[in-house]
């Protein structure tokens, strides 16, 4: 598929970089002229994905988070967030709303629910011990009432 633009970055899995990832999404999206809601949705999506990598993938241990943003035809945004952390043993279970492995940290277990709601497609590929890759797409300019 034709890629109109692409931005790749990686950064250490520390929570201060969650804001950095949101800023990257904002900067990448600006030329596509998203609505305020589209921008807010995709900033939320990247925040959830990167937080998952830091909290669950690396469990606060050292490692890098890899982000790829692409602008595809028909104003479709592609977001890929990958880590080389522990992986998810049961992806179906992890995607259930309110399921969390970190309740003691006040994690709501809503990350996947939010990512699914705010994107058109979400694919998860995870191998225990190897890491997790999330790939999401959202087409801009659709009227989307949630």
């Amino acid at each position: 598929m034709k890629i109109n633009n692409e931005f790749r970055c990686s950064f250490p899995a520390v929570s201060a970089n969650e804001g950095l990832a949101r800023a990257a999404v904002s900067a990448f999206l600006i030329p596509a002229d998203p609505t305020a809601q589209e921008l807010a949705d995709l900033r939320t999506v990247i925040s959830e994905a990167v937080t998952n990598a830091i909290v669950h993938g690396y469990r606060e241990t050292e490692g890098d988070v890899y982000v790829t943003l692409r602008m595809l035809p028909e104003r479709t945004i592609y977001i890929r967030v990958a880590d080389k952390g522990r992986g998810i043993p049961d992806v179906q279970k992890a995607m259930e709303p309110l399921y969390t492995t970190a309740p003691e940290e006040d994690r709501a277990g809503l990350g996947f629910a939010i990512m699914q709601t705010f994107t058109d497609t979400l694919h998860v590929r995870s191998t225990p011990g190897k890491g997790t890759v999330l790939i999401m797409r959202r087409r801009l300019g659709k009227t989307d009432e949630a």
Binding site: R22, A36, A40, T44, S47, T51, L110
Partner: protein, 110 residues
Amino acid sequence: MQIHYNTETGQLLVQLDGEIDHHSSNALRAEVDAAIYAHLPQRLILDFRNVSFMDSSGIGLIMGRYKILQPLGSEIILQNPAPHISRILRLAGMERLAKIRSEVQKEAVK
């Protein structure tokens, strides 16, 4: 963030600001909980007027405070969320745990 406790009404008003994410929520939680345990308020008001971003970490923050306050019979009010924050509150079903309201711009109750 500003925290103000009104002894007459038993209201703890927390004026949140900036971005609420996993990074900021630990410090936020510690400050809010310190005030909750110091005052055991009848009502906790979280004001989102100056919050520019919130993800599910904010939902975790609200749910955690609900767990502390519910046994005390105290209520939580979430006020003045921006539209994108309202969406996340609704998606998470927070209206079942808390009142969500918007205040017309007026002098903050001090």
